[in-house]
Symmetry: C2
Subunit: 433 residues, 2 copies
């Protein structure tokens, strides 16, 4: 049973705070093991990577077979059904069209003092994308990570994907191909992250690493952060649905279950202004849980972390939503756009009853890599911005230096940084001669 | 003596690689101590903060005196000279004018399928700015951190600044006042970071923490990352000057020293296409090091980490610059704009001989918080973007769902996520009824 809360209850605040603070994930402490693996890859390169791959993935690689060849990619892609290919192509096209609009613009202007200022954006030269192997290998995630990188202009985009017992998902290779990935290596775990960050004889190092992974991968990303850039460390998925009574309870139940089926630690929340509707949704969830293929995952998620919260009105719903700062927020109400103006802390918002969150996972266009664990309060989903960086530009004329240089000198002196001040002063003196 | 390299030398590549790999900073391992402090503040709140402040800063605080009062701020500001105030005001105005242009735009559009897509930016609600106390307290850094936050629309901006033995720099309080900071607390170290991240009885928690600090502060920021957002962990400062022979060696020497005087671990590099000019600059540095106030810092920095590199031409200079990916890059050449098109990996570029880097530290307008340690390959300086986050928006019409829903369903099935597919299917079936 999920928890049922009502803002009218006297103990609501306590119970809501407990819900917010619930620790949904116990990351095993693998940091020491990961540190050893990274050091091993830094020291021994390919030899370490192939040994670790033999140990963890039960396949024997050489420097030559570590990379998935163009022929292998072609023949894997040929196995994909026409329907699956068409669906993946539609997704890729829509994701690309959305992300192209994210490209930031350069700017340059000359101000009143005569200073020419501005900035210029440029792409990260090389990026690595970690793709999980085995069961949780999602071709859609390959598109969501790789397309923004290529839209940004990343020249060299590398995928690593472990292939336990040699198994690889043809759809993952098709997604990589559609997205324009340049190199694919059949390695995984902390050893793949180390190879991407530090390079080996076979794999040149990259500047930025993105993509989801298990506890070992997450710990490795934290460790190489600084040497390379990384994306966020994603936690278990979450959805908050705000729905009024004018909805089909079964539709909302399925939306809740579409997060719950990801992971036993996923969290599905419903806020409604109608307690009867909330109970109807909970009943619809129970009914769906009797037959859902992944009920062994979705059931515990809903039981342990699910909640149905009844509020007095939608303003109250918006306030609670901002405290939750959900990764995914569905607004199934009469005027979803108006409500969305108030729900400012959310990774992605889905407006209206015809926008189930699953649309955003695949074909909507926006990215499905989104901030979890309340981090939408301060961070954003993956985007083109993760693969570009900004260089600021300044050019003074003699006139501009005369106008603002003395203030720089005064501040340098106040901070006891004499050379800073002198570097301005010698130029001012030359101009005044 | 700094190292002298020439790309024409046979051992250049080896020596340049050594220069790039030089470890300039040995961070003491304070992680265990910091973990204890954070736990203590989480458990005991104000009591822990005041005890730790008594221990480290030798001042006795209470919950009431922890915050710097409006009266104290006013009377401190009254001590600032008119010249210093004018300089700080000019800096604040110019930094604000630059950062206002960085505000990102919302977008919304309806595509061919009938889907309305877009995104919306919103400010982080509350941010904390760590300001170092004691010697390295820089009012300019207060402006550089606080102004972007306020331009972004952060409602509640909190400064923590330790006041060892009760000392506080009036210019820091003036900078905070000019920038619109809302609360100032006289606490520092890991205990201040913990108080900002988790809150105490007196200090409400924030969502994002920025600002420089010592090893304890840096370790604490790493630890609270995830609970709150943080900016980069800054390393020692760096400058690369690319200069041809048509420059005054003393000007370039002072620019190099303006980084070297920050820190013994700072790095100042010169690349020139004229070996004689390189020697002339090195001589000018030696002459300046005889009298410079901070020669005890600048001298070791130049000796241990400085370098003069002679190249065949400016194309070669640009290639080396991109491998260095400097925090600050000065282009003192005949056509700096043309050269800047090739030097894409840099935090900030200063064009021409009348733009000493010190202008950018204070009054240029661009931010002086910039990526160090080669991280300009993948990251950018501080900006308004650090204090906003993006929510993606999607709204399907029945028509749009009919157009793209089946592809989402196909991909969900291929990924074995049945509830995802069903959440689309039930809506499509209802539309087809």
């Amino acid at each position: 049973m999920p928890v049922f809360l009502d803002t009218a209850d006297t103990d609501f605040e306590t119970r809501f705070a407990t819900l917010l603070a619930a620790k949904r994930e116990d990351s095993p402490d693998v940091d020491a093991i990961v540190a050893g693996i990274i050091q091993d890859v830094r020291t021994r390169g390919d030899a370490a990577v192939t040994e670790l791959t033999a140990k963890f993935d039960r396949i024997e690689l050489t420097a030559e077979t570590m990379r998935v060849s163009a022929d292998e990619i072609s023949s894997a892609i040929a196995q994909v059904s026409a329907d699956d290919r068409a669906a993946l192509e539609l997704a890729a096209d829509r994701i690309r069209a959305y992300h192209i609009r994210q490209m930031p613009q350069d700017d340059s202007w000359t101000d009143e003092a005569g200073a020419t200022l501005g900035w210029r954006w440029s792409a990260v030269s090389a990026a690595g994308l970690y793709v999980p192997g085995g069961l949780a290998t999602y071709p859609s995630s390959v598109l969501m990570n790789a397309i923004p990188a290529k839209v940004a202009g990343v020249e060299r985009l590398v995928v690593t994907v472990p292939t336990p017992d040699g198994q690889i998902n043809p759809l993952v290779l098709l997604a990589a191909d559609l997205a324009g990935v340049d190199e694919v290596y059949r390695i995984g775990g902390a050893q793949a992250i180390a190879a991407l960050a530090y390079g080996t004889e076979t794999i040149a190092p990259v500047d930025k690493i993105t993509g989801p992974g298990n506890a070992f991968v997450a710990a490795a990303k934290r460790r190489v952060f600084g040497k390379v850039g990384i994306d966020m460390i994603a936690g278990p998925s979450e959805i908050l649905v705000i729905a009024d009574a004018d909805n089909n309870p079964d539709w909302i139940a399925l939306d809740l279950m579409s997060q719950a089926e990801h992971d036993e630690s996923a969290q599905s929340l419903l806020i409604t202004d109608d307690a009867d509707f909330g109970r109807a949704v909970a009943q619809a969830v129970d009914a769906r849980l009797e037959t859902l293929e992944r009920r062994a995952i979705a059931g515990p998620s809903w039981r342990d972390f699910g909640a149905v919260i009844t509020v007095r009105d939608l303003d109250e719903a918006a306030k609670l939503s901002n405290r939750i700062a959900p990764e995914h927020l569905e607004l199934c109400v009469a005027d979803p756009l108006a409500l969305s103006e108030k729900t400012i802390h959310a990774g992605a918002i889905f407006l209206g009853q015809f926008t189930p969150e699953a649309i955003g996972d695949y074909v909507g266009g926006p990215n499905h890599v989104l901030p979890t664990a309340r981090s939408a309060r301060f961070s954003s989903g993956l985007s083109v911005m993760d693969f570009v960086k900004r260089t600021t530009m300044s050019q003074m004329t003699p006139q501009a230096l005369r106008a603002i240089g003395p203030s720089a000198e005064a501040l340098a002196i106040s901070e006891s940084l004499e050379a800073h001040g002198l570097s301005v002063r010698v130029r001012l003196d030359a101009l005044n001669d």
